[in-house]
Structure formats: C-alpha cells, structure tokens
C-alpha cells in the first residue's frame, strides 16, 4: 500500500475527494456543512462551492464510498440529504491518506532548494 502514490494527473480530483472524505470521517453531514467544515479547518485555503462539492459527493456515493440518506426536518418538513462514509469509504480513505503521504515524501525532495 505504501508504494502507491497519487497520480499527478489525478491530483486535483483526488485532493478534493480526500478533503471531502476526511470531513466525513469527522462526522456525517449535509453538503453545505461539509463545505463549511473544510473551509473553516483550512483557514479558508480550501473553499468548496456546490458546483465542486455535489459532483464529488455524488461520484463517491455512486462508487459506494459514501452513503447518502434523506431525512425530513421535523419542524418544516423539508427534505435534506446527509452523507456518511461507508466501510469501503473508510478503507479507501486510509489508502488515499497513505498514497498522499507517499506522494509528498517523493515530491518534496524533487522541488526543495538544494542546500
């Protein structure tokens, strides 16, 4: 597992998926809550709008890494969708974290200034 690194052409997609899955690992939530969580924890460095977030969440759901469930708001009767990591999603998250660690372990020596 440690040998796998993130493919350079997949960096953006993989980074976004990892951010969303890591937010879900901290707790299930609605799309907007995940976006706010990522933004606040990163001090505003990573900001998801819905245009980025929904395709990611729905793709992860389609792959079985995330499970979406509908609930009715008891007061207003509004239907809302919340997301949680599945068991496969947790395993995938562990593997992805490892792949990113490996990526940076190999990446930094390539770009750091020679001293």
């Amino acid at each position: 597992m440690a040998d796998r690194i993130v493919e350079p052409q997949e960096l953006s997609r993989s980074a976004n998926e990892l951010l969303v899955m890591a937010a879900l690992d901290r707790g299930a939530g609605h799309g907007y809550q995940l976006a706010l969580d990522v933004e606040e924890r990163s001090g505003g460095a990573f900001r998801f709008n819905h245009g980025t977030l929904y395709p990611i969440l729905h793709r992860l759901e389609e792959r079985g890494l995330v499970a979406g469930s509908w609930s009715d708001d008891s007061s207003g009767g509004r239907r809302r969708k919340s997301y949680a990591l599945t068991e496969n999603g947790r395993k995938h998250l562990v593997a992805e974290r490892e792949a990113w660690r490996e990526f940076f372990r190999r990446f930094w020596p390539m770009v750091e200034e020679d001293r």
Partner: protein
Amino acid sequence: MNEYGSVLRSLSDRLDLPQPARSRVLIEVAADLADLEAVYIDRGSTPEQAREQALERLDLSDEAIRELVRVHGSRLRRGLDRLGETGRRRGERLALVALLVFLVAGTRALLPSWGLLADAGRGLWVVSLVAIPGILLSITKGYALWGRDEYDPRKLRTGLDAILALGGLTAATGLTLWWFGLRTAAEASAQSPELGPAYLIAWLTSGSATVVVSFQLAILLGMLWLILAGRTARVERGEAEMLLIEELGQPKGGER
C-alpha cells in the same frame, strides 16, 4: 415564487437528467441553500446578505453540471453519449429496422414448427399486423425512458395509451376472426352437409389458435403498457415535485 425559485428553475433547465435523479439534485440544492442562508444569518448577516452569500456558494458551472449528468445518467446513456448525436440517431434507426426484420423473420421461421402459430394460419398475420405496431411503439417508449433518459412527460405520454388500445384491438381482431371462421364454416357446411364436421374441426383448430395467439399478444401489450405507464407516472411525479420546489423552494414529501 420564492427567492431561490428562479435559480432552481434555471438549474433544472440545465440539468439534462432523468427523473427522479433531477428532482433529487434540486431538492438537495434547495435544502442546502436554505440551511446555508440560516447559517449566515446566525453569523450576523442580514437575510438579504445571507441569501446572496448562499447563492454565491452555489456556482454550478457547466462543467459541474456535465459531471452531475455523467454521474447520474444510465450506463446505456453514457455509452450512447459517446457515439454523438448523429451516430446515436443512425444507431436508433438501424436497431428499429433490425428489430422489425427480426420480428417478421422470427415469426415466419416459427410458423411451421410451432403448432399453435401454424394452426392460426392466416389469422396469425392479421392479428400480428395489429399487434406489431404496439410492440414497436412499446420498444420505442422503453428506449426513450431507459435508453435516452427522456423526462418530458408530454413526450412520454404521447402514444402510450395507443399501446393499450392496440392490445384491445388485437384481442378484438382475434375474436372477430374466430366469429368469421365460424360463419364461413357454417355456410360451407350448409352447402356441403357431408363435409360439415370437417369444416367445423378446421374452424375449431384455426379459430381457437387465432384467439389464443391474439389474447397472448393482447396480454403482452397490456403488460408492456403497465410497465411503461408506471415508469412514466414516476417521471411525472418527479416533474410535479420539481415544479413545487421551483415555486416554493421548499421540497416536501414525494419521491425518494
């Protein structure tokens, strides 16, 4: 119409997705917009500012829409999309012609070997002539629903009841042929009484086979209609619910 109504309407126009996937995306967006607005109000924004901030976060670009369509479209549709519009139309026509040839050739090949069809004789061709347009129409509707992910209820409803009507007409044709056969046999028996039993046996064999085949085809068309009407009703419910979301911005009940 509420403050998000126009945004949701515009989004629904851009989302080229079948139901219920389209209404689900819209319900999710509508609920998130309302919740996000509430969060910004809690953080001190005025309702107007909160609404603007929530809308600012929406930003569903064409690329995002394409990705959503890709994720939610059926596998068949994804494959067809790769063919392009011209290739797809050509493929559709070719498939319909191939199907028609298969139906005619298949029936012709089965006729001598399958007792029931052989007994039905010319009656089979007459009831087939009525039933085949219904079968072809069902296939076209099925392809629109599951292959092309069509979601315009008006287009889906057009011609749908004709399938049921053709089913009824097929059964009625079978019964008419049965009666016509009886009348012919009775007239022939009256002219040649010694051949009466033979005429009646011939009528019993071919007439009953025609009736059975016509009823089987009618039941098949009825079942096809049931499946297609059920799916179309589901699409209509989704569309109706979506209109409610666009009008009120408050998704309540309905499709899950």
